[in-house]
Amino acid sequence: MAESILEVRDLITAFDTEGGLVRAVDHVSFSVPKGGTLGIVGESGCGKSVTAMSIIRLLPQPAGRILQGEVMFKGRDLTRIMPKEMRRVRGGEIGVIFQEPMTALNPVHRIGRQLSECFLLHKKMSRREAWEASVEMLKLVRIPAAGQRIGDYPHQLSGGMRQRVVIAMALACRPDLVIADEPTTALDVTVQAQILDLMKRLQSELGMSMILITHDLGVIAESCDEVVVMYAGRVVEKAPVKELFANPLHAYTRGLLASIPRLETTPKTELPVIPGMVAGLKDFVPGCRFCQRMERRGATLRERPDFIEATPGHWVEACPICYGGGKEAGA
C-alpha cells in the first residue's frame, strides 16, 4: 500500500463512568494514505468521533483516556508527546473541522479575529500579517467579498458560509492532515455538495491527507479512498472504497448498505432492516458485537473474532456467523 501519513495501532480509549471503566474505542487500527482520504463510517455511538478525538487528544477530561495503543504521525507517537508539543501539532500540522459550525465558532468574536488566532499561535506573524493571511484564507474557501465578510460575526453568515470559515481555520496553517468530523451533516444537500467539492479541490491543491468521519455512505462513496467501518467501538471491516461497496463482507456492512433507500428502489416497498439496536457501552460483550445485536447466543459472544485480510487490502472481523469465511468472496 502507499505510504501513510498517520497510523493508529491497537488504540483503546476508555471513559470513567459510575459503572466503572467502559471502552468506547476497542483495539482500533488503521492508517491514512498520504494525500488520500480515509473515511470512518458508523452509527452514533460506534466510537468514530472518540477515535478522532483520541488522535488529537481532545477527549473530555478527566473522564476520557487512552489506555493503550499508538498514534504514529510523522515519526512520533502522538499519545506520548508533551501537551505543549501536542498543542503545536493540533491546528498546526493537524487541522480539525467540527460538525456544528455554530458551536465551533465563537459567537462574540469577528471571524477575522478567530482566523487570525491560528496564524498568531502557530506562525510568527504580526497582527496585520495575520489579518491579511486570514483574508487570503477566506478567498481560498471561496467566500465572496472576503475583505468585508472578515469583519462579520458568525451569526451574520449562513450555515454553508460558517462551515467554510471553519474549514478556513482548519486549513490556515497548511496542515498535513485534516480531520473532518461530520463536516456536512448539518447542511442542506445543495450546500453539502458545494462543501464536499470545495474540500476535494483544496485537498488536491494543498496536497493534504484527510480523515472524513460520517454516517452517510453516500458521502463516503464520493469522497474517500479507503474506508473503515466501525461498529460498537471496533473496526469490523476495512477496504478501498470501490472494493467495499462492490463486495461488502461483514454482515453489518451489508445490512447498512441494504437499508438505505436509493433512487433505484421501488417506492413504497419494505426496506431491508437491521433489527434491534446497538448495545449500550457498558453491555458490550467481548465477542462479536453484531451477533450481540442480532441476539445470537453462545460461543460467538465470548471471544473477540480475528481481524483477517480476506482478499488483498480487504480486512474483516472474521466472526464465523457475520463473515461466512470467504464463501461469498469466492462467489
Partner: protein
C-alpha cells in the same frame, strides 16, 4: 377522487419589527401562496432546503400557526379560521410527528402518561380502557407493553420516534403531518421507522404529508412529491416521474446534489452558487432564476409564475429561467 386535504393559495407571513418604536418594518414570507391536495391513503412528500418554509407549511395546515391568507379545507370543510374550541375535533383527525423525538416528548411524563393524554383531552374513557388502548398502541408501533411505565430518556432515538408515532396514532387520525421524522435517526434505524410508517398506512388507510430534506427517503415513502423553494411550490409530480424527468432547474440541482452510495458512479453535478435568498426580501421575480443569475430573470419581475400541468399530473412553475427551451415553449402555449 376527492381530496382529504386541500390547500389553496396559503400564505403564512411573520411580521418583522424594527426601529426605535418597534414598528413592523416588513415580513418574512415563509409560505407565500402554496396550493396542494392530499387524497385519502396518499403520501405527499414535501422537499426543500432549510428555510424554504416546509415546516411552517406543515404547522399551518394543522393550525399550530395562523395562516395569513388562503384557505385550508379538510374533508370539504374550511378550517382556515376555526377558533380553538372548534379546532379540537379536528385534532383527532390531523396529527403531527416531529423531527426531534427528544424535544417533542415530555421528559417528566412516563410513556403511559404521554400516550394517555390524547384520550384524557378528548374525554369519555374509563381508566381500564385507556390502559388497554396504550398497550395496543405500543404493540402497534413495535414496543413492548412494559415500556409504558418507563420514561423517554430510557429509550433510544428510534424507539422515541416510535413513541411519537404512537401518540399521533392514539385518536385514529386520517392525516399525519410528519416533519422530518427520520432525519435524526441512524441509517439502520431510519429504515425501521420508514417501514413502520408504510405498514401503518397500509393497515389504517392513513394519509401523510411527509416533510424531509433527504430526497431518497422522500421518494421511497411518497406517492407524489412537491418541491418547495422560498415559500413556493415549484414542481409537483408522482415520485417516479419527478426523479426520472425533473423539469424545474431547482429540482434538477437538488437531485444532482444527492451523494450516491456507489463509488463507481460518476455524477454530473450541478453545483449551485450561494444560498437560498432571504424570505424577508425575496427577489421580485423568479427566486431561483435570481440565485443562478439567469439572463431572462428580468422578464419574470413582478409576474406571477403559476404552476401549469406540463404532463398529466406533472405540475411545474411557468418560469422561463427554470425550464428547458422546449418545456418553456410547451408551457407558454398553455
Amino acid at each position: 377522487m376527492s381530496a382529504l386535504l386541500k390547500v389553496e393559495d396559503l400564505k403564512v407571513h411573520f411580521p418583522v419589527h424594527g426601529g426605535v418604536l418597534m414598528r413592523q418594518t416588513g415580513s418574512v414570507r415563509a409560505v407565500d401562496g402554496v396550493s396542494l391536495s392530499i387524497r385519502q391513503g396518499e403520501t405527499l412528500g414535501l422537499v426543500g432546503e432549510s428555510g424554504c418554509g416546509k415546516s411552517t407549511l406543515g404547522k399551518a395546515i394543522v393550525r399550530l400557526l395562523k395562516p395569513t391568507a388562503g384557505r385550508i379545507e379538510f374533508e370539504g370543510v374550511d378550517i382556515t379560521r376555526l377558533r380553538t374550541g372548534a379546532l379540537r375535533p379536528l385534532r383527532r383527525d390531523m396529527q403531527m410527528v416531529f423531527q426531534d423525538p427528544v424535544e417533542s416528548l415530555n421528559a417528566r411524563h412516563s410513556v403511559r402518561e404521554i400516550l394517555e393524554e390524547p384520550f384524557l383531552i378528548h374525554g369519555g374513557m374509563a381508566s381500564a380502557e385507556r390502559r388497554k388502548r396504550v398497550a395496543g398502541l405500543l404493540d402497534r408501533v413495535g414496543l413492548q407493553a412494559a415500556s409504558a411505565d418507563r420514561y423517554p430518556f430510557e429509550f433510544s432515538g428510534g424507539q422515541r420516534q416510535r413513541i411519537g408515532i404512537a401518540r399521533a396514532l392514539a385518536l385514529n387520525p386520517k392525516l399525519i403531518i410528519c416533519d422530518e421524522p427520520v432525519s435524526a435517526l441512524d441509517v439502520s434505524v431510519q429504515s425501521q421507522v420508514l417501514n413502520l410508517l408504510l405498514e401503518l398506512q397500509r393497515d389504517m388507510g392513513l394519509s401523510y404529508l411527509f416533510i424531509a430534506h433527504d430526497l431518497a427517503v422522500v421518494r421511497h415513502i411518497s406517492d407524489r412529491v412537491a418541491v418547495m423553494y422560498l415559500g413556493k411550490i415549484v414542481e409537483v409530480a408522482d415520485s417516479e416521474t419527478i426523479y426520472r424527468e425533473p423539469k424545474h432547474a431547482y429540482t434538477k440541482a437538488l437531485l444532482s446534489a444527492i451523494p450516491h452510495p456507489d463509488p463507481s458512479l460518476e455524477v454530473d453535478r450541478i453545483l449551485l452558487e450561494g444560498d437560498v435568498p432571504s424570505p424577508i426580501d425575496p427577489p421580485k421575480g423568479s427566486a431561483f432564476g435570481h440565485r443562478i443569475g439567469h439572463p431572462r430573470y428580468e422578464e419574470t419581475v413582478g409576474k406571477e409564475l403559476p404552476l401549469v400541468e406540463i404532463d398529466p399530473g406533472h405540475w411545474v412553475a411557468a418560469d422561463p429561467c427554470c425550464l428547458d427551451e422546449a418545456d418553456w415553449k410547451r408551457v407558454a402555449e398553455e
